[in-house]
Amino acid sequence: MSGLSLKYEVPGDDFTRAGEASSDVKRKLKKLGYDPDAIRRVAIAMYEGEINMVIHAGGGQAFVTIEPERVDIVLEDHGPGIADVEKAMQAGYSTAPDQVRSLGFGAGMGLPNMKKYTDEMTIDTEVGKGTTLKMTVLVNHKS
């Protein structure tokens, strides 16, 4: 079976619409009968990625490929890039502005959560150019 490929535009600066892509992917996986744990991991990792793109990058695009054994998520933005990836990966480290914190974000858990919930994650980032984040969730493989 060839994979199902999905593409989403993630709006910049609109917190009310952030999460639409991950919710849609969640619904599709549910309909396809995927394991609830895998669905949860995909949805959380992708939502964190979407929120990051809204907070930091002015939006971007999400590409999702659904296959029987794995779900691949690619998040691409043309934002400012991540200056210190190692720091950004530390739980609790955040550069989110205060107004974002008042919404309940900016806990510095975004990237750590994505790492926690996925089986593979790579960050390709360049300051001033943007960031491409690739994540894979293996189905029936608890991380």
Binding site: F15, G19, R40, I44, I51, G104, F105
Partner: protein, 113 residues
């Protein structure tokens, strides 16, 4: 215990998601930082929080929480109410604070810490 039973036992009011009150509750989590909650809340949890915005509804949906209980009468935004109804996430409210609620819920749940 279902969300309906929780509502009755603790005299909570329902603000949204009325149709999903038969959902089974298996645990409880309290917190207001959304990413933190996303990392820790479990499927089937009652989620105690003061965050009543649209993103909180997304977090409840993504973590598959059984319901949200807004403590200290924290406000539920109109956007959030609509989204909760659309997605079938029960949102309940209480005047009590998060600690008091957590204590009471722990008495009701068979496997409470």
């Amino acid at each position: 215990m279902t969300v309906q039973e929780l509502k009755e036992q603790l005299s909570l009011s329902v603000l949204a998601g009325e149709e999903e009150l038969d959902r089974e509750i298996t645990g409880c989590y309290a917190g207001d930082l959304l990413s933190w909650v996303m990392a820790r809340a479990e499927s089937g949890d009652v989620w105690l929080t003061v965050m009543g915005n649209i993103n909180a509804i997304a977090v409840a949906s993504l973590t598959d929480a059984a319901c949200i209980v807004l403590t200290e009468s924290a406000a539920l935004d109109e956007d959030a109410r609509n989204r909760a109804n659309q997605q079938g996430i029960p949102v309940l409210t209480t005047e009590e604070d998060t600690y008091a609620m957590a204590v009471k819920i722990s008495r009701l749940l068979p496997e409470a810490p």
